[in-house]
């Protein structure tokens, strides 16, 4: 049938075929009208799920604050959920989360950015075609592998230089998390930079700029909102990362700024408690929701901030 169509290219046949198809027009009209509704319903699935999650988080968090005061939760530096005299201060977890994410961004920010600059501005087409997929492959490694790597390789390696470092510490998972985030920051920043039109580069070069000046004074400012988005996604990823810190940083709820010590992040706390003996209805059970809610607020605020920054410094072209 298809071959038949190919052979006869006369207009008459095409016309009659279109005519035939027109007879089905009514079905087409109905389906065209149905499509938006169907798509809307499908789009609502993810929105409704999110709303459901937030709803559960909020109600259970309320229950937690019936038992533990807001002041204790947000200002307490002691987290001792399982002791005879339980204490629920979230500061050790917030501290652990911020420190591990900061270490990760300290690694991933500069390296990811420099990788993006190389790929977008300096690499030949050939080099880019090889390097970018390899980089994105790195993003596909399961985090448990990274965690294992941090615990069995990075920590022992670091202890050769810092003997007093404990076997579980925040430094190693922080560094490894950074490595994990590099591809994300590099790839997204590269996308933003290479979508800046070539005419900008030409304009700047024609004024006697060096390539480095073009990159830092024209391309990066023009791609700034995309780069901010890449960094925010990177930070969100670091804040939300669970497995690496759970494995390599242990479960000490230390409130300290010494990065050679074990600390716990919010996510790792949720893993520990959810996997342990949190019987439904107990305070420790509800504390899971309060911690998760805090985590959620964290990432939400960061996203809002990032949107603001991206809009404030946007260079439209």
């Amino acid at each position: 049938m298809i071959e038949n169509n190919k052979e006869s290219t006369s207009t008459v046949r095409v016309k009659s075929m279109i005519e035939q198809n027109r007879q089905r027009q009514s079905f087409r009209a109905v389906s065209e009208k149905a499509v938006p509704t169907v798509l809307l319903v499908i789009a609502l699935i993810s929105i409704l799920t999110t709303i459901g999650i937030v709803f559960v988080l909020i109600t259970e968090t309320f229950e937690f604050f019936n038992r533990v005061s807001l002041v204790e939760f947000f200002t307490g530096t002691v987290l001792r959920p399982l002791s005879q005299d339980p204490k629920f201060g979230i500061l050790p977890l917030i501290n652990g989360t911020i420190i591990s994410s900061a270490i990760a961004m300290f690694v991933a920010g500069p390296i990811g950015m420099m990788t993006a600059i190389y790929l977008s501005e300096y690499a030949s087409d050939k080099a880019r075609r090889v390097l970018k997929p390899v980089l994105e492959l790195l993003a596909g490694i399961p985090t448990i592998v990274y965690g294992f790597f941090a615990f069995t390789f990075v920590t022992p390696f670091l202890r050769q230089f810092i003997p007093e470092m404990s076997a579980t510490n925040i430094l190693a998972p922080g560094l490894v998390m950074g490595v994990m985030i590099i591809p994300m920051i590099a790839s997204l920043s590269e996308d933003a930079m290479s979508s800046v039109p070539n005419a900008m580069r030409e304009g700047a070069l024609a004024l006697g700029s060096t390539k480095l000046e073009v990159t830092f004074k024209v391309i990066i400012p023009a791609a700034f909102s995309g780069i901010v988005a890449a960094f925010v996604l990177g930070i969100s990823r670091a804040v939300g990362e669970t497995m690496i810190v759970a494995i390599a940083s242990g479960s000490s709820k230390n409130f300290t700024f010494d990065i050679t010590q074990s600390m716990q992040t919010m996510t790792a706390y949720v893993v520990e408690v959810a996997g342990g003996d949190a019987s439904p209805g107990s305070t420790i059970y509800y504390s899971l929701y309060a911690v998760a809610m805090t985590l959620f607020m964290f990432t939400l605020l960061m996203n809002i901030l990032a949107r603001y920054i991206a809009r404030r410094f946007r260079e439209e072209y």
Binding site: S124, P197, A199, M200, R201, E202, G203, A204, L205, A206, L207, G208, S209, T210, E213, K217, V218, P221, A222, E315, E316, Y317
Partner: protein, 268 residues
């Protein structure tokens, strides 16, 4: 009769007075295996408007971009021969291309302002060349915008994004941006082809003004434009420089048959 000889005499004098900015000798250029410029010998004179005309693909834009070595952005380009700019061979391997481009500005076919404010667009060039003093920058911005005949239109919105301007304004902004680092030569690659007739007229008038201070090389596919604004015109075809003379002579008494065919509209 005396009048005619007078003109001839002045022209003779002019010829002696004008110095060459560029002297191109046996320039050949290849894009990979495509021979795009063939033995081009092309002097360019100071404080004149030199127009290059010719059909699409004749190499006129390629030649223009060779004058500030922007052509090298295409990875597969290689050249032979020499281009002397003020006595220095710019094709020499150790020649600093940034120095050349600081002295030789360029205006592109499509306006390409940076996605920054009007002020920052103009200040970009001076800034990368080390001028940081706010007062001096303010002055440069004003002078350049005045020089490009756009100051009155934009003086109240210097902080606004350049992309809020019309196409013609953007192109004059790009000319102002080139003026800001006080170049010696300005190369223009079909600067009005993306503009409407009114904006085109403004840019053409501007070019006439600029000629007093700068040497201008303009590539155009619009022959009337070449006739209107240039002092000398070069006709290129298939990578060769066919004919190069005073604009009046080219358009009134072309020596080469191909030039005549092109000018009279027989092809191209």
């Amino acid at each position: 009769m005396k009048f005619v000889t007078d003109i001839k005499n002045t022209r003779q004098e002019e010829k002696q007075q004008t110095t060459k900015v560029y002297e191109t000798k046996d320039l050949n250029l290849w894009y990979g295996n495509t021979h795009a410029l063939k033995n081009v010998n092309f002097p360019i004179y100071e404080q004149e408007v030199t127009a290059i005309i010719g059909p699409s693909g004749c190499g006129k834009s390629t030649f223009l971009k060779t004058l500030n070595r922007m052509v090298e952005l295409v990875p597969s380009v290689h050249t032979s021969g020499t281009i002397e700019y003020r006595g220095e061979n710019i094709l020499a391997p150790d020649f600093m291309v940034e120095d050349l481009r600081t002295k030789v500005g360029m205006v592109f076919q499509k306006p390409n302002p940076f996605p920054k404010s009007i002020y920052d667009n103009i200040a970009y060039g001076p800034r990368i060349h080390g001028i940081k003093d706010r007062k001096i920058l303010d002055e440069i911005v004003e002078t350049s915008l005045r020089g490009a005949a756009i100051w009155n239109e934009v003086k109240d919105r210097l902080k606004e994004n350049a992309y809020g301007m019309s196409g013609g304004q953007q192109q004059r902004l790009c000319i102002a941006r080139a003026l800001a680092i006080e170049p010696d030569v300005i190369l223009m690659d079909e600067p009005t082809s993306a503009l409407d007739p009114k904006s085109t007229l403004k840019v053409e008038e501007l070019i006439q003004e600029l000629k007093k201070d700068f040497s201008i090389v303009i590539v155009t596919h619009n022959m009337q434009q070449a006739a209107r604004i240039s002092d000398r015109t070069a006709f290129m075809l298939n990578g060769e420089l066919i004919e190069y003379d005073y604009t009046d002579d080219i358009f009134q008494h072309p020596k080469d048959e191909r030039t005549e065919d092109y000018i009279t509209g027989r092809f191209g």
